[in-house]
Amino acid sequence: MPDPSITSQSFTSQKQGLVVGVADMVVSTDPDEVLVTYALGSCLGITLHDPTKCIGGLLHLMLPDSQLHSRTTVRPAMFLDTGLPLLLKTMLDAGADEGALRCKVFGGAQLLSADQFFRIGAQNVEACYKLTAALSLRVLVWEVSGRVNRTIRMSNRTGEVRVRVPARPEFIR
C-alpha cells in the first residue's frame, strides 16, 4: 500500500476530513480519509476515485473557462478547464489507475429567471459534460442543477459521497 500522501494548495485537516475550499483541490491516498467541501452553490464539486487503491480526489471549481479570466491570479482549481485536468494528473501521479477511475459531479445550482446574468451553474454543468467526455472519464453520478446548496463528503475507502442540503436528510450517491 502506498504511503498516504496529500496534494493541495491549502486545506484544513480536521476530524471531519480534509476540507477543500472554494477554487481548491485535494488528493489523498489514505483509505481512511474523508474529503469534504462545503456549500457548492453554482460551483461544481468533482470527485475522482480509484476503488482498487482507495485513492480519492476532490475539486471545488468556480467557473468553466480560465481563458475569460486571464488577468486574475493563476489558480488552476478555480476553473473547470484547468482544474479537472490537474485533478486527473494529480490522481495518476499519486498512483491511481486511469482505467479504474470513477467520477462524480455535484453542484451547479441555478438562480431563478437568469437569462442573461448568473447562468454560472448551467454553464459549469454544460462545460463539464463536454470536458469529462473529452477526457474519457467515467461519470457515475450527475447530482447537479436545481436550486440547492450542496455540501459533499467522499469516503476514500468506498468512493461513496454523502450529500447534505439545507433542511433535508443527508443522502448517499
Partner: protein
C-alpha cells in the same frame, strides 16, 4: 388573518440583535488593551451582522447622532469611542440568539454571518470598481441586508416552516411565499427594524429593495443595485446559502441599468473569493473569531 406572528410582533420580539458569541471575547480584549486602534475595532465589528447593526444603531441614536446620519462602520466607531463600544459589547454579550439553533431557513450555525460577509465583500468590490457608491457604505449595507431574516428565523420559525412547504410550488419565489403565508416578507421586517433603530436612509433602502431594485423608487438606486448584484454573486458562490437562497429572482433590468454585464460580474468573482479566503477558512470558520 394569518395565525402567525404579525409584523409588529416580530419587530418587537427582535428589538435587539445580539452578535455571535465568539466575537465578543476578542472585541473585549481589544477594548481593554492600551493601544487599540479604530482599524482594529473595525476589522472585528465588520465581520458580524449583529454587532455591526448594534454599532450603527447606537451611533445613529438621538444621543450620538447630532445632525448627521452615520452610514459606515468606521464613522460609527469614531463617533461612539471605546467607552460606548465597550458598553455595547457587554450588552451584546447578554444576547444568545446565535447560541440557539435557528430554524426557518435551513441555516447551519454561522451561515447568515458567512453569507452576509460575502455580500459585504462583493458590494465593496463592485462599488470600488464601478465608482458608483461609497465602498464603506456598500460593505455595511451588504453586511446587514438580511437582518430581517435573522429576526424572522428567531421570532417566527413556525411560519417559515409553512413557507418552505409552498416553495417552489405554488410559489417559485421564496419572498412571494412569505407574503402569502405571513402577510409580509423578510425585507418588510428589515425595513421596520432599521427604521425603528434610526439607521440612515441608504441602509434602509437597500434592506427594503435589494430583492428587486428596479421596482422601487430608491434615492440610492446604484447602491441598491450593487447590493443586489453582490447578493447574487454570494448566492452563486454558496457561502451560507440556506434553503431559500436560490429561490431569489435576478433583476436583470436593474443590473443592465448600471451597465453590468455577465462577463464583468463573473470577472469579479475570483477577487471576491480571494478576499473571502482571508476572512473564512475552508471549513467555514470566520478567521477573526477563532
Amino acid at each position: 388573518m394569518s395565525k402567525h406572528a404579525r409584523l409588529e410582533t416580530v419587530v418587537d420580539m427582535t428589538d435587539s440583535i445580539p452578535c455571535a458569541p465568539l466575537i465578543l471575547p476578542k472585541l473585549q480584549r481589544l477594548l481593554h488593551g492600551s493601544h487599540v486602534t479604530t482599524q482594529q475595532l473595525q476589522s472585528i465589528i465588520e465581520l458580524d451582522p449583529g454587532l455591526a447593526t448594534s454599532v450603527l444603531r447606537m451611533a445613529n441614536s438621538a444621543y450620538f447622532a447630532r445632525n448627521q446620519k452615520c452610514e459606515s462602520i468606521s464613522n460609527a466607531i469614531l463617533r461612539l469611542g471605546t467607552t460606548a463600544l465597550s458598553r455595547l459589547a457587554v450588552t451584546s454579550q447578554a444576547g444568545n440568539w446565535l447560541n440557539q439553533p435557528v430554524k426557518g431557513y435551513g441555516w447551519e450555525p454561522g451561515d447568515l454571518c458567512r453569507h452576509s460577509l460575502c455580500v459585504a465583500v462583493a458590494a465593496e468590490f463592485l462599488s470600488t470598481s464601478s465608482g458608483l457608491a461609497d465602498p464603506g457604505v456598500a460593505y455595511t449595507a451588504g453586511l446587514i441586508h438580511d437582518v430581517g431574516k435573522l429576526a424572522l428565523a428567531y421570532a417566527n420559525s413556525d411560519g417559515l416552516a409553512e413557507v418552505e412547504k409552498l416553495v417552489p410550488s405554488p410559489y417559485p419565489i421564496w419572498e412571494h411565499a412569505e407574503n402569502a403565508v405571513l402577510g409580509y416578507c423578510s425585507a418588510d421586517v428589515s425595513k421596520k427594524l432599521l427604521q425603528r433603530w434610526g439607521l440612515p436612509t441608504a441602509l434602509i433602502e437597500v434592506a427594503t429593495s435589494y430583492l428587486h431594485p428596479s421596482r422601487g423608487d430608491s434615492q440610492n438606486l446604484p447602491l441598491v443595485i450593487i447590493v443586489h448584484a453582490a447578493k447574487s454573486i454570494a448566492t452563486e458562490l454558496g457561502y451560507g446559502v440556506g434553503i431559500d437562497g436560490f429561490y431569489f429572482e435576478v433583476d436583470e433590468a436593474a443590473l443592465s441599468h448600471l451597465n453590468f454585464t455577465e462577463e464583468a460580474l463573473q470577472a469579479c468573482m475570483p477577487a471576491i473569493v480571494e478576499r473571502m479566503d482571508s476572512l473564512v477558512t475552508p471549513d467555514g470558520v470566520i478567521n477573526a473569531l477563532s
